[in-house]
């Protein structure tokens, strides 16, 4: 049986979305800036997609700027706002829950002379609005907090933090890549100034993302050039991908509640079964989390081994262990939640989508405990973490 349980990594492209895109990969190849019918058609298609994406998050179409990805939207927001407001102050606040496409631009801003505060979550991966409040200085111009963590599923109190920022005239950005298309997201209700999103997180194509920019919000472009996207993002538009993002947004809006109910049922059943295994810890917030997201740390074994053995059984999941990352470090998100690194190495994440079934969950609940048992038989820590320090330090990680 094949079970794709890695929907936080990406989603398959929906058939209806592909169909909507196809004309723009074939005969409708016009440049949206051209004045003849081919160009007009492409331009109209983009504006239609803009309205569809706006409809999903309750913004005005003019507040949507298309980008190549969620990562680009995050880079655009952080760098664009910091540079636009640098003469008012040079302090930026982000959290330890953020994606690399927030953390690395934040480090880049530090090199430009900005000061960045990295706010820690609690043990559930939850950012206390008060800890953001405490980090604010007279110099703070921008706060960026992820809407929900793809690693542990916790949904952050973005509305409260946006209010705190607003009261102090600080621009507020949220990375909505993991939430838009997975839970209801209303930018007016949340009160955010900017929000990033990615089409492939809701069955749209890769290569399409967007940044919501509240009307009246000044921002410096990331890509300078022509007048595309109102001069805020230059480059001839990726028309097929944008059309696909629009179509995916339209369908997602209609089926969101059905999808949430479906994946939550699957998630709850999996969590129920997995938590019966000894020495397994649930990570992230138990209730306040993405409906289709289950994350655990399995003690005494390592994540990549689990992923490979699951994969051999046709079950595809994710991990935040050091060995699965090119950086060879345990997930900074898990570490910031206070999970010790030897436990964080046993991290595993299952994320569900529309096409998953209860049969797949039952199959996984048969296979997964056996895989854990097998890897524990190989482990020198099968009986516990005694003698943790023997063997010396991490010399090989230089």
């Amino acid at each position: 049986m094949e079970c794709y349980f890695d929907h936080v990594a990406t989603n398959p492209l929906r058939e209806e979305v592909l169909e909507a895109m196809m004309p723009f990969l074939r005969e409708e190849f016009g440049n949206p800036l051209s004045v003849y019918p081919l160009g007009i058609k492409a331009r109209e298609a983009i504006e239609n997609a803009r309205a569809q994406v706006a409809g999903l998050i309750n913004s005005k179409p003019s507040e949507i700027v298309f980008t190549s990805s969620g990562a680009e939207a995050n880079n655009f927001a952080l760098r664009g706002i910091a540079l636009a407001r640098q003469y008012e102050g040079k302090h930026v606040i982000v959290t330890r829950m953020e994606h690399h496409s927030i953390l690395n631009p934040a480090r880049f801003l530090e090199k430009l002379g900005f000061t960045v505060t990295y706010v820690n979550p609690d043990k559930y991966g939850f950012i206390d609005p008060d800890s953001i409040k405490k980090a604010i200085t007279d110099e703070t111009i921008l706060i960026s907090v992820i809407h929900a963590s793809p690693e542990v599923g916790t949904i952050e109190p973005v509305k409260e933090i946006a209010q705190i920022a607003k009261e102090r005239n600080i621009t507020f950005h949220t990375d909505g890549v993991a939430t838009v298309g997975n839970i209801p997201v209303d930018v007016k209700d949340l009160g955010v100034d900017l929000m990033s999103m990615a089409a492939h997180q809701f069955y749209g194509p890769k290569g399409a993302g967007a940044l919501y920019i509240r009307e009246g919000q000044r921002i410096i472009p990331l890509i300078f050039g022509g007048i595309q996207e109102g001069g805020r993002r230059a480059g001839t538009e990726n028309v097929p991908a944008i059309v696909g993002m629009g179509k995916a947004a339209e369908i997602t809006k209609e089926e969101l509640h059905r999808k949430m109910e479906h994946v939550k049922k699957l998630r709850d059943r999996l969590v129920d079964g997995v938590m019966k295994i000894d020495n397994v810890h649930f990570t992230g917030h138990p209730e306040n989390r993405l409906p289709g997201h289950a994350s655990f740390c399995v003690e005494f074994i390592e994540g990549e081994g689990m992923l490979l053995m699951l994969s051999a059984k046709g079950i595809y999941a994710a991990s935040g262990s050091a060995c699965t990352s090119k950086a060879l470090k345990a997930s900074p998100v898990l570490l910031s939640m206070g999970i010790p690194s030897h436990v964080a190495h046993g991290s595993i994440v299952f994320s569900f989508g529309l096409e998953n079934t209860m049969e797949q969950i039952e199959y996984t609940l048969e296979e997964f405990p056996q895989i854990i048992k097998r890897l524990r038989e190989l482990s020198p820590y099968a009986k516990g973490w005694e003698g943790l320090e023997e063997g010396g330090t991490c010399i090989q990680k230089k």
């Binding site: 390592e302 060995c323 060879l328 345990a330 030897h342 020198p380 330090t393």
Partner: protein, 124 residues
């Protein structure tokens, strides 16, 4: 990302488990970094007659452990000391570059197991 040989040794590891009457034990790595290998050897007339391992780590770490236990069996201690990280990786058809150092603990664990055997022998 892994070769057929790595996947074979990971999915069907050889010589797994503790060896209660081991003549030498070597531990390399640290669970904080993500990979730990514990290697047990049985020695007779300066020759390794049996080897077993326990490993906490990724696919590469487990495959390396399995492979080195196969490689050392029947070798004299001097021959075993010749086994380098590179030779283990080569026997596995290569390792991804980022795994070459962190997960390739077999040769170091083996060296420690042989040292352990020699120091025990001196004490007797």
């Amino acid at each position: 990302m892994y070769t057929k040989e790595v996947m074979d040794h990971f999915m069907n590891p050889r010589n797994v488990g503790e060896m209660p009457d081991a003549d030498g034990i070597g531990v390399e790595g640290n669970p904080v970094c993500g990979d730990v290998m514990k290697l047990f050897i049985k020695v007779k007339d300066d020759r390794i007659v049996d080897a077993k391992f326990q490993t906490f780590g990724c696919g590469a770490a487990i495959a390396v452990s399995s492979m080195i236990t196969e490689m050392v069996k029947g070798k004299t201690l001097d021959e075993a000391l010749e086994i380098s990280k590179e030779k283990v990786a080569e026997a596995l058809g290569g390792l991804p570059p980022q795994k070459m150092h962190c997960s390739n603990l077999g040769a170091d664990a083996l060296r420690k197991a042989i040292e352990d055997y020699k120091s025990k022998k001196r004490q007797n």
